[in-house]
């Protein structure tokens, strides 16, 4: 599918991103920092959807679990950042397993609904216990990753590079191929002797791990956690749109889509309310006419 040429293109793009702090303002860096955390969540979603074939409508459930675990530990147990991140990852993996159980039994729309309900429940819980969680207003963390734009940018970019590399490598490995086969035709994959349940379970855990970490890193960057910034369905929808826009089943496409969405939203900010309208109509046009997304366009040109 994506040959070595695209790999080198991605490498070149990464070099540009790493050189960026020497040329642009702190404002742009701040924007991209958020985009990189979103990118990790979107790539994690693509592993589940593009490869395992599971339509997860609630990526923000996993992201939110990680974010709030880190926040609560940091605020109430005064835990340092690193243990908070580890706990966030563990909590998200547990959440991923909770989602994986119905996913192995249910199909298509039913599983989609379970994930949607998971997000709504988490959001309700956060708002109900707003005395502890800060609810919709948000809860300020005691620690932040860094106060300097450049350092934050390096953290985010490094995190995205490592996560992206691992997810991409995994998707190209033999395990990734088996996963893809299980997603496309579970019966046939099982008939070939592959353990479909085991591979899907692993995919859920890995996807949850990166989503939870992304959520935790994001709140440590922002300094506050609120239901609207990490749990809301609208946030989850952004990850999904990003992955489909960039090109599903490519992992890297999800990162490109996320950066595009955040930057486009910022460029169109003068339009006010209409900016979301323009971005979503653009995404709709891409879905209708270029179902392969940005990377699909690239691959199509070559073929």
């Amino acid at each position: 599918m994506l040959g070595s040429r695209n790999f080198w293109l991605a490498m070149a793009a990464l070099v540009v991103l790493y050189l960026l702090p020497f040329g642009v303002s702190g404002y742009v860096l701040g924007l991209l920092t958020v985009a990189y955390y979103y990118a990790v969540a979107a790539m994690a979603w693509d592993l589940l959807f593009g490869f395992a074939g599971e339509v997860n409508f609630g990526p923000s459930f996993l992201v939110g679990l990680g974010a709030y675990t880190a926040t609560l530990l940091n605020v109430y147990a005064a835990a340092p950042i690193l243990p908070c991140l580890l706990a966030a990852a563990a909590a998200a993996v547990a959440g991923g397993l909770v989602l994986a159980v119905p996913a192995l039994r249910l199909r298509g729309p039913y599983f989609g609904l379970v994930t949607l309900v998971a997000v709504l429940l988490l959001q309700n819980i956060i708002v109900l216990f707003s005395g502890i969680t800060g609810g919709e207003i948000g809860l300020a963390l005691t620690d932040v990753l860094a106060i300097d734009d450049h350092t934050n940018y390096w953290y985010a970019l490094g995190f995205m590079t490592v996560s992206g590399g691992l997810l991409f490598g995994l998707s190209r490995s033999s395990a990734g191929l088996i996963l893809q086969a299980s997603g496309q035709d579970a019966v046939q994959a099982a008939a070939l002797g592959f353990n479909v349940a085991k591979h899907k379970l692993a995919a859920f855990c890995i996807s949850a791990l990166f989503s939870g970490l992304a959520g935790a890193m994001l709140v440590f960057y922002l300094g506050t956690a609120s239901a609207g910034t990490v749990v809301d369905i609208g946030i989850g929808v952004q990850f999904i749109i990003a992955a489909v826009l960039g090109g599903r089943r490519t992992i890297i496409g999800a990162a490109i889509g996320s950066i595009f969405l955040i930057v486009a939203g910022e460029v169109l900010r003068p339009l006010g309310e209409l900016s979301t309208f323009v971005v979503s109509s653009f995404a709709l046009v891409v879905i209708l006419f270029l179902p392969g997304g940005f990377l699909g366009l690239l691959a199509g040109r070559r073929g």
């Binding site: 119905p102 039994r105 729309p109 109900l128 369905i233 489909v244 979503s280």
Partner: protein
């Protein structure tokens, strides 16, 4: 007294939920489409009714009519601009059509939501009720509007039942939900059947939207919740089963009303979500669904 109040309020809100969910269920049963712009279509109907009745001065009935018409037109727009191009696309693999329709209608819903927020702001709007006033039912003061909502909802559902079970076009719809290939072999054009079902859906969503606007008021911020509640009701009842959706609408409507009155209005949706998780785990096909 409280019991009777819950009984009356729950009955009216459930009828409205039922009307909203029936169209959603019908579309899924006949064409296999889960329309995630459902909430947006309902809100457009309500906002159109509000604007034509108020600012444009067409009166309450003119506004209601315009609202239903808006639902109808938007339903067709959804079908021809979003759903049909995806279904007919050669570039999208067959097994991925479903997720593309979901993503496409979701984006379409967001576009409509933003357009409403831009044109009319996201403040809540309440449509003037068709009949104003209050009646006293055994000591419970009930707005006449609540009774009108109930009657209109059930009339619309009754007419839908007659249409499906007693007319030739309706029987074709029923057949299409059971075996589309068989129907094609009998010489029916599936494209026409899909047009009919989206037309019916548009009218139902339009009526439900206008009633909702008069009963609870709507704002563009409600769109996600409205879609999610129709989706949950339909899954609870069994995807594609119209009578299942009606029963589920009553379960959800009463569960919410009881929670709102006896516990707190802020937690009204929590028991429904828990019930939904339970049903999906134990009986994935829903109350009356086929596997």
């Amino acid at each position: 007294m409280l019991g009777l109040q819950i009984l009356i309020d729950g009955f009216a809100i459930s009828a409205l939920y039922g009307l909203g969910a029936v169209g959603f269920s019908l579309i899924f049963g006949v064409s296999g489409v889960l329309n995630l712009s459902h909430g947006a279509i309902m809100v457009v109907a309500a906002v159109t009714a509000w604007a034509t009745a108020g600012d444009l001065g067409f009166g309450t009935y003119g506004g209601a009519l315009a609202g239903v018409l808006a639902g109808f037109v938007l339903s067709f727009a959804t079908y021809f601009l979003v759903v049909r191009p995806i279904q007919g696309s050669h570039a999208i693999p067959r097994e991925e059509k479903e997720i593309f329709v979901l993503t496409g209608t979701l984006l379409w819903g967001i576009m409509i939501q933003q357009a409403i927020a831009y044109l009319f702001f996201n403040t809540p709007k309440t449509v003037r009720p068709l009949v104003e006033g209050v009646v006293n039912i055994a000591g419970v003061r009930t707005p006449i509007n609540e009774i009108v909502t109930l009657l209109v909802s059930w009339t619309a559902i009754g007419l839908l039942w007659l249409l499906i079970n007693r007319t030739r076009a309706g029987k074709a719809l029923l057949a299409a939900s059971m075996n589309p290939r068989g129907l094609t072999l009998l010489g029916f054009e599936m494209a026409n059947i899909h047009c009919v079902v989206w037309a019916i859906y548009g009218v139902l969503a339009g009526i439900a939207g206008v009633l909702l606007g008069a009963f609870l008021g709507v704002s563009s911020d409600n769109i996600g919740t409205l879609t999610a509640s129709a989706f949950s009701i339909v899954v609870l009842g069994g995807l594609g089963s119209v009578s299942g959706s009606l029963i589920a609408a009553y379960v959800v409507g009463y569960l919410e009303t009881v929670t709102a009155y006896l516990v707190a209005p802020s937690v009204r949706s929590v028991p429904v979500l828990l019930l939904l998780v339970l049903v999906v785990y134990l009986r994935p096909q829903g109350l009356l669904g086929r596997r």
